[in-house]
């Protein structure tokens, strides 16, 4: 199949970027989106032009490294997919695709389609952990946890930190990301020790890193590859208010 790609090229965060058009032919519809970009980069290498830089790692939908906004949709047209799991069969032969980086003030462009998402790491560092003894892993069944609670905590824990929620949000809010971690740990007994501090620290870090306020449009949950629920945002707000009321 043939595709016309309009790709955002930008030297670094300080320079202005622009769309550059590339035409690719002889593509297989079974190719993944990132493989298609590999093909483009090989052709650019042959011509001696600089490669289009983009993030990726596992290419299995588990690491959260791949990003991209394709025709206005974070991670492409399929809902709840990562870009690496998106295949060319999701597009029609002859389509024109506009490929942009995730855009948010907290995600400065490193180069082309690659953005710096370390602001999300800072949020995790602020409170996305539990206190536990170092050494051997404890016996898994030492603390019994109800199956439903374990399942629901796992749904929140599934967040891969990709940042698609931020990229999609009109306010560049990372509420879904923060809430996934807050909800995950608040649901489990191991997370109870820092329950109050965690949410206050993480919301604080979220604001310090320059993310916006959630206005509940719900766009984030529609693109989240892990289907993290908006309910988690409600849970985070509950935890925040609870912490504000009871913490010293």
């Amino acid at each position: 199949m043939k595709l016309t790609l309009k790709i955002w090229r930008q030297e670094n965060a300080k320079t202005k970027g622009k769309l550059v058009t590339y035409k690719l032919s002889d593509l297989s519809s079974d190719m993944s989106f990132l493989e298609m970009l590999d093909v483009l980069n090989e052709q650019l290498a042959v011509k001696g032009e600089p490669a289009v830089e983009f993030d990726h790692d596992c290419r299995e939908g588990i690491c959260g490294q791949c990003s991209l906004v394709i025709n206005g949709q974070a991670h492409g047209p399929e809902s709840h997919y990562t870009t690496c799991q998106t295949h060319l069969r999701s597009f029609k032969d002859g389509d024109t695709l506009i490929i942009e980086p995730f855009r948010a003030n907290s995600f400065p462009v490193i180069r082309d389609l690659k953005v710096d998402r370390s602001s999300m790491d800072k949020i995790i560092q602020a409170g996305g952990y539990i206190s536990s003894f170092t050494g051997m892993a404890p016996e898994a069944n030492a603390i019994p946890i109800h199956h439903d609670i374990a399942e629901s905590a796992f749904d929140s824990a599934a967040c891969i930190g990709c940042g698609a929620c931020v990229a999609t949000c009109k306010n560049s809010s990372a509420a879904l990301f923060v809430s996934a971690k807050v909800a995950h740990l608040a649901k489990l007994p191991q997370g109870k020790i820092e329950r109050s501090e965690r949410v206050l620290w993480m919301v604080n870090a979220h604001d310090e890193e320059g993310f916006g306020s959630c206005t509940n449009t719900g766009a984030c949950a529609m693109v989240c590859p892990q289907e993290v629920q908006l309910l988690d945002i409600a849970r985070m707000n509950y935890e925040y208010n609870r912490a504000k009321c009871i913490s010293k």
Partner: protein, 228 residues
């Protein structure tokens, strides 16, 4: 890094403030609607004289508004309401400015299918409501309650609503209010964290039905008066 102390200084706290003030304003909207509905009670509804010689819609409405202005607990709630509205507006402005700052460069294409247009445009809807509120208050509240130049509020309302363009302004304000409410009610519950899984859909549908009923009732009153 120190945690910001103020309850309303964080991204979550500011939204809490929006929710609390918004829900209070909704409580007032219900009371206001009850008053408005008196306007469309037919005169035949008054077969006998009520207390104080209230014999028709005209008397009933004026007695009601007189009561509101002269009963001190109502005045107290009214002051809370003014504070709530002003806080709601200031807080919304702060949130919006902060959110604009958070946003990076504009996307060349945006796909808007992931959210409703009214949830994305609460600020614009709010501004329309705000403009309407200023006109509305200048027309009635200022004349009747502050300047006290008008003593027959019923007459004032009827005369005003005989002007087609004022009815139009009224309708635009109400439509904006309806959409603002649909998103606002659900959003407020989520912002406050009062949004349990079991009640999630209940909140959603109650918000929708409530907003619809409010908007329809508010909207038909000026139309009925205009054509009467």
């Amino acid at each position: 890094m120190a945690i910001k102390k103020g309850l309303f200084k964080t991204s979550v706290g500011r939204k809490n403030l929006m929710a609390v003030t918004g829900l209070f304003i909704i409580f007032f909207l219900i009371i206001h609607l009850v008053g408005n509905l008196i306007l469309i009670i037919p005169n035949s509804f008054f077969p006998i004289e009520f207390w104080g010689g209230v014999a028709n819609t005209h008397d009933m409405y004026n007695a009601y508004s007189h009561f509101l202005v002269h009963f001190w607990p109502v005045t107290l709630v009214a002051w809370v309401l003014y504070v709530a509205i002003i806080t709601h507006i200031i807080d919304a402005t702060l949130i919006t400015i902060n959110n604009w700052r958070s946003r990076g460069d504009k996307y060349i294409v945006t796909d808007n299918s992931t959210s409703t247009w009214y949830s994305r445009n609460m600020g614009i809807l709010g501004t329309i409501i705000g403009v309407f509120l200023v006109i509305h208050m200048a027309q009635f509240w200022l004349q009747y309650k502050v300047l006290k130049v008008e003593h027959d509020l019923y007459e004032l309302v009827i005369v005003t609503l005989k002007t087609w363009w004022f009815v139009l302004i009224y309708e635009i304000g109400i439509i904006a209010l309806g959409f603002h409410l649909v998103h606002g009610i659900e959003s407020a519950h989520r912002s406050l964290g009062i949004y349990p899984k079991k009640l999630m859909n209940v909140i959603k549908y109650v918000a929708l039905c409530f907003s619809l009923v409010m908007a329809i009732l508010y909207a038909i009153i000026p139309i009925i008066i205009y054509f009467k």
